[in-house]
């Protein structure tokens, strides 16, 4: 599986170029970070409590499952932030983790 999400319409938008974990990623203008990442991959981040990968849950800013970070350490909800040219995203939590269940 290349991407978890599947685009069904609205594919004629201009492209936006960002970086995810050091690699270039091409997205469409108006994409949320979540859609940009999950149309090309299967997860957004690593769970801090176990070996599971996480890909968001509620898409409405309530569950906080979709956190990603900017290179400078700012935390973003991937479901409620849109892509911008030059955005440099990191999917590894910069703070300590508690892999209690790994």
């Amino acid at each position: 599986m290349k991407g978890r999400f599947l685009r069904l319409a609205e594919q004629g938008r201009p492209t936006v170029n960002l970086t995810v974990d050091g690699a270039p990623v091409e997205a469409l203008q108006g994409d949320t970070l979540m859609v940009a990442l999950l149309t090309q991959g299967t997860a957004l981040r690593q769970s801090e409590f176990d070996s599971g990968r996480r890909a968001g849950f509620c898409l409405m800013g309530a569950c906080q499952d979709c956190w990603v970070w900017t290179r400078s350490g700012e935390r973003l909800r991937a479901c409620s932030n849109e892509v911008r040219d030059g955005l440099d995203i990191v999917t590894t939590q910069p703070e300590a983790t508690w892999p209690l269940h790994s």
Partner: protein
């Protein structure tokens, strides 16, 4: 002049969905300029969420049978926008009497109010199932937002599982948009729908719309099962969802392959701000959950604090528009301002019909509280912190924690990132089943500030 006198009243509405927008409209028409604070960047709430700039799908494609309502609400808001004090992208994260604590783009500020109307909406109501923490499991509402707001499907083969009208709405929207729906699995037996028919007939148009969704799924040859028992979301930690296992109404075990699951059992209200304001809560027997105790106009038990829409009482978007107008009239009355009694009576009558329909839905698509009892010890209850049903049961058996907040302190169920939004109600069911009492006897998770996580880097600004 009324307007000049009224400008001294600080009336703040939280939430720019159908309730908040109709409330603002009604207040403005009476000469009060409300402050409308909304966490989202665009108006419309979740149900009438707007697509981003540059998207081209029309209202009919986006909102189907609700297109005219969505368009009217958006147009109303566009007219209001310049005339009210609108503050998008602003989270109300706490409150004290007469003052809200807000966060906007990394900055904290306070906002004084004389009257506060909470139109905070709802989120999906979830019952855990073994494996629901796997990547590719989404809330039902989340699956709808993916399509409506971003024109994507949450997966290549999607199972819709749970119960409630949203299950059929979203599944049929996916089919219409060209997504592959692997199955629709409803925990409610079809017979309950027939039993609830007298109440559902309070709104025959809506009932007909619901039947059309089912017909669309049937025509698209989507397998649909009623009265199922969900057993497990299949898959592994690295790759996420691979399918769903369930038993049919007649007890046959079935596996469906899928790479995504949309899961939800109708809605739960966002009551944290009302809770922090000290508003009394009430247990609704019909839906088996706690919500804010209000009078029929939306007055809470705290003077000056009001609530409307699904954040007060789960009755859907149409009722939210009526409740938004109704609550605005109550605010005017309490501020000793003239108000339109005819408009009040109209809203009240409409809401009475919707109350009847709500009870019908609760009968037809009941919350499956009993599933919590059957949940294996290994199943995750808190997906934020990976806490199992077994761990929660141990806090009941070994530590005697038969109250939700106490069990939370011992087990951390309800303490994670989502702050109990997606585990607390099911957690209460697990505790109640283990303690052998009714779910309302184990209490409810208290609201805590901040109601959503804040950055430690937040900067304080003077009002």
């Amino acid at each position: 002049m009324a307007t000049a006198q009224l400008s001294t009243h600080r009336v703040v509405i939280v939430g720019a969905g159908p309730a908040g927008v109709r409330c603002a409209e009604t207040l403005l028409a009476a000469g009060i300029k409300p402050i409308l604070v909304d966490e989202n960047r665009r108006d419309g709430g979740q149900i009438y969420r707007r697509q981003p700039d540059g998207f081209t799908r029309d209202y009919s494609t986006l909102y189907g049978s609700e297109a005219d309502k969505a368009k009217d609400l958006h147009q109303t808001f566009d007219r209001l926008r310049g005339a009210i004090d609108y503050r998008p992208d602003t989270l109300v994260w706490n409150l004290t009497p007469g003052q809200l604590c807000c966060a906007n783009q990394g900055r904290h500020s306070t906002l004084d109010y004389d009257a506060l109307i909470l139109c905070t909406g709802a989120t999906d109501r979830l019952m855990p199932i073994e494996g629901w923490q796997l990547a590719g499991t989404y809330s039902l509402g989340g699956a709808q937002i993916a399509l409506k707001n971003q024109a994507v499907s949450i997966g290549h083969r999607v199972v819709f599982m749970g119960s409630g009208p949203l299950l059929y709405l979203v599944a049929s929207q996916y089919v219409k948009a060209g997504a592959t729906v692997a199955a629709v699995l409803d925990t409610s037996p079809f017979s309950l729908r027939l039993k609830a028919l007298p109440k559902l007939l309070a709104r025959p148009g809506l009932l007909w719309t619901g039947m059309k969704f089912l017909a669309q799924l049937y025509r698209a040859k989507v397998p649909a099962h009623f009265g199922v028992k969900p057993l497990e979301v299949l898959g592994d930690a690295a790759n996420g969802v691979a399918g769903v296992r369930f038993t049919t109404g007649s007890g046959k075990a079935v596996t469906v392959q899928a790479d995504a699951v949309a899961l939800g059992y109708h809605l739960r209200p966002e009551t944290q701000l009302g809770d922090l304001a000290g508003c009394a809560m009430a247990f609704d027997e019909a839906s088996s959950q706690w919500w804010l105790a209000t009078d029929e106009a939306g007055r809470t038990s705290v003077n000056g604090v009001y609530a409307a829409g699904d954040g007060a009482k789960i009755r859907g978007a149409d009722a939210a528009e009526h409740a938004g107008r109704r609550v605005a009239l109550a605010v005017l009355e309490d501020l000793k301002q003239p108000f339109n009694a005819g408009l009040r009576d109209e809203q009240q009558q409409a809401l009475a019909v919707m109350d009847q329909f709500r009870l019908g839905l609760a009968e037809a698509f009941p919350w499956p509280g009993e599933q919590a009892k059957a949940l294996p010890d290994s199943a995750i209850v808190c997906r934020c912190e990976m806490i199992t049903a077994g761990e929660l049961r141990r806090t009941v058996n070994e530590k005697g924690a038969c109250e939700v907040n106490r069990a939370k302190a011992f087990s951390r169920v309800g303490m994670g990132r989502c702050q109990g939004r997606y585990c607390s109600q099911a957690g209460a069911e697990v505790i109640a089943a283990e303690a052998g009492v009714q779910v309302q006897e184990v209490g409810r998770q208290r609201g805590q500030a901040p109601v959503k996580p804040l950055s430690m880097l937040i900067e304080e600004v003077s009002p």
